[in-house]
């Protein structure tokens, strides 16, 4: 099924029976557990385009099937961007919310949950619900958008997403500090203590990258002031950030959240790793996910390797997740197999 409007989407969900798999661009199909074969596959690729965009308000409403890249293109024309830079180039906005995916900009801007200000979602029974709105500050009602972050299509089908946007920085400069994981923790502290305000601070396989964004004179000054850093040319910087994105291309890739200072312990499990060092969010290729899970609980498997269970021991909030799933999709129509063995 490939609905082209909210009404068609609603009808597609409401008027069918049986299980449903939501599919965006298909860039994260294997994340969070391989889905079982379903009666229907619901593609969001027909739900594309900007709904409203008024640059002076610095918000944009888009249909969930719109690729982020397309949104970025439109915003760039007005000197703006969504401050989200996941590795998956073709991913749709809805898919990024559902997978709670983000890239190095999470250092300064957080992830989808921090940029999302409104959603429209179609529930398993065809109910259409909105929450949030079109303004950046809003506490009216529950924030269902946040709930859908990391829901992997198991709670509802995202139809529309409203995001806050930021001005495109006039200039940017990346600095590289070659170091090991333990030193990266210390360097991170130094960069932060020096109040250099990087937009991204990422350690990737032996190199700490600090990206500064802002007015030109300032980014250059900050780059020069970075303790132990070498200023990279634009081309070298692009290559370095491509290496960061490429960590996700491995066979068995996981994302893991820990205290930032635990980076060395996490890195010990990795064959390749990139980490937002001030945040404590790591993306890594691993050989043995169970060993990692034995040490760290907040692990999500990205990339599907047969035979590897997507989730480990249920953590304290899993019973609540089940209760939420039960209320939103009591028949278990949406994304069966995802979150196995938790669901």
């Amino acid at each position: 099924m490939r609905p082209a409007s909210l009404a068609e989407l609603r009808d597609a969900v409401r008027d069918t029976r049986g299980t449903l798999l939501v599919k965006g661009a298909g860039t994260a199909q294997g994340w969070a557990g391989a889905p079982d074969p379903t009666d229907h596959v619901l593609e969001t690729a027909g739900l594309t385009g900007l709904i409203t965009y008024n640059p002076a308000d610095m918000t944009v409403a888009v249909r969930a099937g719109t690729p982020l890249a397309l949104v970025q293109q439109e915003l760039a024309a007005a000197g703006q961007r969504v401050s989200l830079d996941p590795a998956r180039a073709g991913a749709t906005v809805g898919g990024l919310v559902a997978t709670a995916d983000s890239g190095p900009l999470r250092h300064a801007y957080g992830g989808p949950r921090d940029l999302l200000i409104g959603v429209t979602v179609v529930l398993a029974d065809g109910t259409v619900a909105r929450s949030g709105g079109h303004v950046i500050k809003n506490v009216a009602g529950y924030d269902l958008g946040k709930l859908l972050c990391g829901s992997f299509g198991t709670l509802g089908v995202l139809a529309e997403v409203v995001l806050r946007v930021h001005p495109l920085p006039p200039a940017s400069r990346t600095v590289s500090i070659p170091c090991d994981a333990a030193e990266a923790v210390k360097h991170t502290g130094r960069v932060l203590e020096a109040r250099l305000e990087p937009a991204a601070l990422e350690w990737c396989d032996g190199e700490l990258l600090a990206r500064y964004e802002g007015v030109e004179s300032s980014v250059e000054l900050r780059a020069a002031a970075t303790p132990g850093g070498t200023r990279l040319s634009t081309a070298d910087a692009e290559a370095a950030w491509r290496r960061v994105a490429a960590v996700g291309d491995g066979d068995l890739v996981v994302r893991c959240g820990t205290r930032p200072s635990q980076l060395p312990a996490v890195a010990a499990h990795a064959t390749s790793l990139t980490s937002s060092t001030a945040v404590g969010v790591h993306t890594l290729r691993v050989a043995d996910v169970e060993r990692l899970r034995a040490e760290f609980t907040q692990v999500t498997v990205l990339g599907n390797k047969p035979g590897v269970p997507a989730w480990g021991e249920p953590h304290a909030a899993v019973p609540l997740m089940r209760a939420v799933k039960q209320r939103f999709d009591p028949e278990g129509r949406l994304g069966p197999g995802r979150y196995r063995p938790w669901f």
Partner: protein, 481 residues
């Protein structure tokens, strides 16, 4: 099983000085900072630690008695309003800062710790807790989590929800859990994000892990005077549109300035129609460059004063933050409204509000977070002169105007009791029913702060306000099916 049994059990668990039962004493808990709503609870519990909170909740669950968490009682939407025959669970004895970790830049605190005390505890490491509601010296972090509180500096740095790593929660059945984790990556749904801002209706927070930031390298603050609130509003729109993200942009109109000047000597011009406080912070060079742009964008300002030093800046903020309460000097009674409009419609909103006030014959003072479009019109009236109803109607009309302009009923104070009946203006029945599913997942029995956020027939009359097409729907921005 009765309330008496519940009281005896709580007394046994919390001790005699852990509960309040005397009628006069109970009445001191009958309202929060929104005094228009008052309900005397059956009992107040004053637990000393998380285990006692859990025990109190478990007892309420056993007896099926509703309960309401209470922080400092500074809420402005009646969120901590007690339930008749229910229990108030005060978190004011859970006030320890358990850990400040300068390496991983976080603090672990009990829910009754004030917002400002977190920053005080972090100060020796050059760190601070960023969201800064004007009430920060008194409001608790538990209340902040419940309301997803904002503040002047949230424009650049984000709201409470963006700064909480984890919370320990006593669920409405008395069991405990942790939402969130050591880093903003959780295996599973973002239950933490969904929990923050639910106004105490999903459980009671007994522990909070917050992110700490380094204090900025440089701070520059200016106060710009304008001939009209419209000019000031337009300046805000221009600054935002120019791609500057100030740490804060706040506006005060003449009435608000008068009130502030009576409280704090911050040097605000008593004759100006409106003043903007704009603050930039960050790396020195960045700030200097942007500051020049900023001064240029305030071209219509009649006067621009730049804060001389940290002390002057502190005074400016002290004045701004005292504004709500200082309005008590201008008027015996007032409502604090809290609506949001898109930032391009600030000037328009202010003009409309002034007109509405004039029509109603009621003074409206404005002091608000202009950069977010978060208005706080203060509707001044006198109970004695019998203006209550007119003022209340005006205040409600202003909130609904915000929705009409494409904004929201509340930017930071919450829906609580106050605006529950206006919710159908913003959300359809399906929207609200979907939110209730989340509530039911946490609180199937409906014992945790019932009657807040969602319209109920009891509060709003038989039929909660009729659904009218959402303005965005009317404008074709959203479709309602």
């Amino acid at each position: 099983m009765s309330l008496t049994d519940l009281r005896d059990q709580l007394a046994a668990r919390l001790g005699r000085d852990g509960i309040v039962t005397d009628p006069a004493h109970l009445r001191t808990y009958e309202c929060d900072a929104l005094t228009g709503y008052r309900v005397v609870p059956a009992l107040v519990a004053l637990p000393r630690n998380a285990a006692e909170v859990a025990a109190a909740v478990a007892a309420c669950a056993r007896f099926k008695v509703p309960f309401v968490a209470r922080g400092a009682g500074t809420g402005l939407s009646g969120g901590a309003l007690p339930v008749a025959d229910g229990v108030v669970i005060s978190l004011q004895r859970l006030r320890r800062v358990l850990e400040v970790d300068p390496v991983d830049r976080r603090a672990t605190v009990e829910p009754g710790v004030t917002n400002l005390d977190i920053s005080r505890a972090a100060a020796k490491y050059g760190l601070y807790y960023s969201p800064d509601p004007s009430s920060q010296q008194v409001c608790t972090i538990g209340g902040n989590v419940a309301e997803n509180s904002g503040g002047a500096h949230c424009l650049k740095y984000g709201f409470t929800v963006n700064h909480i790593l984890a919370v320990d929660v006593v669920l409405p059945d008395g069991t405990t859990t942790r939402l969130g984790a050591d880093a903003p990556h959780q295996a599973g749904f973002d239950l933490l994000g969904a929990f923050v801002g639910t106004e105490g209706t999903l459980g009671i927070v007994t522990g909070v892990v917050v992110r700490l930031l380094h204090t900025p390298a440089t701070v520059r603050t200016l106060v710009a005077n304008f001939d009209s609130t419209k000019d000031a509003g337009d300046a805000v729109t221009a600054v935002i549109a120019a791609g500057i993200v100030p740490a804060a942009i706040e506006m005060m109109d003449n009435l608000a300035i008068q009130a502030v000047n009576a409280t704090v000597d911050a040097g605000f011009d008593p004759d100006t129609a409106a003043a903007l406080i704009v603050e930039l912070d960050g790396p020195a060079d960045e700030v200097e460059a942007r500051f020049a742009d900023l001064t240029r964008l305030c071209a219509k300002a009649t006067e621009v004063t730049i804060a001389r030093d940290a002390e002057h800046r502190a005074k400016i903020w002290q004045g701004r933050k005292a504004a709500f309460a200082a309005v008590g000097r201008l008027s015996p009674n007032y409502f604090v409204q809290d609506g949001v409009v898109p930032r391009t419609r600030l000037g328009e909103a202010l003009t409309r509000i002034a007109e509405m006030g004039e029509q109603a014959g009621i003074r409206v003072a404005n002091v608000f977070h202009a950069g977010d479009g978060n208005l706080h019109p203060l509707v001044l009236y006198s109970e004695e002169r019998g203006e209550h109803e007119r003022a209340e109607a005006l205040s409600t009309a202003i909130a609904e105007l915000c929705v009409e302009l494409g904004g929201s009923l509340s930017g930071e104070h919450g829906i609580g009791t106050d605006k529950a009946c206006s919710m159908p203006r913003m959300f359809s029945e399906d929207d609200l029913a979907t939110m209730r599913r989340l509530r039911a997942a946490f609180d199937p029995e409906g014992l945790c702060n019932p009657g807040k956020v969602f319209p109920t027939p009891r509060l709003c009359g038989e039929r909660p306000g009729p659904y009218r097409p959402h303005p965005l729907e009317a404008a074709g921005v959203i479709e309602r099916l």
